[in-house]
Amino acid sequence: MKNCFAPLVSTVFPRQGFGGGRYAGHRAGAPGSRDMPKMVLWKWLLLLASLLPGLSLRAEVVVSTDEETGLRKWHLMEGGFEVELVQRLPDQTRGFFLARGFSGDVVGDIATSCIFQTIIRNRDGEGGGKAITVDLTQWRVHTGGKEQGIRLKEPWIASWPESSVGQASRLAFRWALFPTWQEFLPGDYNWGMTAFGVKPGSVFDLDLVWRTDGRAHRARINSIECPPDLERRR
């Protein structure tokens, strides 16, 4: 998938050609020195290794912007665990749920809850790889000196009176949001909306937790940006 590869390259070689001015000022690997090709080659080899399933490298967060939509995304991969968070504009979310029978009040609450499209994949080696479990109740959002959990779909659905949200709308919401708990066997992936529960336009850090063989793994993605609510600006 093109959007997986391209941003990684742009991070390893930000706005430079291969072997450009990145190493200027460094003795080893300075442009024109004998070490330069070796260092660039090592960068490439590390890049390739990070893309191969089953090899575990230090977690790397890649931030990129979709050229067509202007929406930003945050991509993290560590071991077999891969997650991508893609911004959704509040208006996108409004349109999606209004089309599924939600009233304006409820849609407004959903749309301004910092919704991201979330994709999680187990890229561990096929066959011999390990299962990964993800429990969103363990993820933590840090913003403005406060810590909170993300908004989960079960209590959200339960909070709506029967009369305000119909059965078909509840069903769409349930399947559109990311599962609160899921096991990913090697090769499995899932996608869905996650609500981080902070205001549009705000910035937050996210602590992620996933498990293999019962062991918890943790990573942090810093400075995730909730897209602004253009509707409210108008």
Partner: protein, 176 residues
């Protein structure tokens, strides 16, 4: 500097490795002989389909919705797969979750599907299957047990998947 040829080679290898994100065209075996939960649902023409009525055939059972991007992405490949498999005693049933005939009718103008599209309007059937997200697909052996599952989209007309589905008939029948 790295020679141009080496750069090109590295770039091509990187592209191939990056393609693994979308290219893991595998089905996950379901261990044991788990019976497929039976159901009866109407298709978009009002014709009823009972899963157990397809006993003796391999069934590819797909749960999807029109608003789900990976579902939309895999439907064309599923249609191509169906053309190659329908003479091999393989049935594809795609269960739409929570939508109506009109929505699906509009959808099929852009994404034609020649196999039955079933309507699970109230989500009762999907609730009885181990589904966490859309799309999820199960391959049901001719003996009515779940042989494979796929969470997330697949290219269903890929040679690897077609081979697995075709081979299932012989394997499970041999075990019966």
């Amino acid at each position: 500097m790295i020679p141009m040829r080496l750069r090109a080679t590295l770039f091509a290898v990187a592209l191939l490795a990056g393609g693994a994100w979308a290219g893991d065209q595998t089905l996950t075996p379901v261990p044991g002989a788990v019976p497929a939960p039976d159901f009866e649902l109407p298709d978009t023409d009002g014709r009823m389909h009972r899963l157990s009525a397809y006993r003796g055939k391999t069934v590819i059972l797909n749960f999807w919705a029109t608003w789900c991007p990976p579902c939309r992405e895999e439907i064309p490949s599923m249609n191509r797969a169906w053309r190659q498999l329908r003479d091999a005693e393989v049935v594809i049933l795609a269960v739409d979750v929570g939508e109506d005939e009109d929505t699906i009718f509009v959808f099929t103008a852009d994404y034609p599907a020649d196999f039955p599209l079933l309507l699970d309007r109230d989500g009762t059937v999907i609730g009885e299957w181990p589904v966490k997200g859309l799309p999820t697909t199960f391959v049901i052996a001719p003996d009515g047990t779940i042989a494979y599952r796929a969470i997330g989209g697949r290219a269903w007309d890929g040679p690897g998947i077609l081979e697995v589905v075709r081979a299932l008939r012989g394997q499970r029948q041999g075990a019966e």
